[in-house]
Amino acid sequence: MKRLAASLLPVLLLTVAACKKAEAPPPTPAPTMAASTTTLPAPVGVKSVMLGSAIGPDKRVTTTSDVFTPKETIYAVVESDGSGPAKLRALWTFVKGEKTAKVDETVIEFPSSGPSVNEFHVTKPTGWPKGDYKVEIFLNDGATPAMVKTFKVA
């Protein structure tokens, strides 16, 4: 019996060693992916609206104002930015108490790919009636204006 155990011992030892060798190697850790740094382009938006009676070659008003004379041409300069289809609509309105009268409505449509300067202008050969006015700037058929500017003719 003792001889049997002694002869089996090396076999047992070899078996244990072989099992250890046959163990699956530890799994290699999955390669980590670097975080993406891609930035989506900003959507089109209205940054500012300025009013004036003249614009320069860059289409910006030369002097901002919110009071005009009856014979002046009135400019509304809209700065926009962002990427995508852009539709700017300027709605000019005369305001008298709770009553309003439409003066003009003009649209500029363009494929925006960055900053742009957009000018709308109105003039009335027989002279602007004195009183209060407003110009609303709508973006892409929005129900509410992106910006509103009020002005007077005096």
Partner: protein, 84 residues
């Protein structure tokens, strides 16, 4: 056609001239004109372009809303391409 309501208390802005431009490329500019009682495309073209024959420009710009150029109605909003 029913008579159009006219508020005598409010000024008349039918002679207003307007325009627009942009630094962006590929832009299209048009005025929005609301049809009044008695209007026709040729009358509108005469008033805006100074030439009644330019009614075709207005018709082409509004193909999606005007099926028959002889049939426009008060309140209808038309795109008026820029004269330039």
């Amino acid at each position: 056609m029913p008579p159009e309501d006219k508020d005598d208390d409010m000024p008349d802005f039918s002679d207003v001239q307007s325009g627009a431009s942009t630094t962006a490329e590929g832009a299209v500019v048009h005025e929005i004109y609301e049809v009044k009682s008695g209007d026709s495309l040729s009358k509108i073209a005469k008033r805006i372009y100074g030439n009644a024959a330019d009614w075709k420009r207005i018709f082409e710009a509004n193909r999606d809303t005007i099926k028959d150029p002889d049939k426009i109605f008060p309140g209808q909003k038309l795109k008026i391409p820029s004269a330039n």
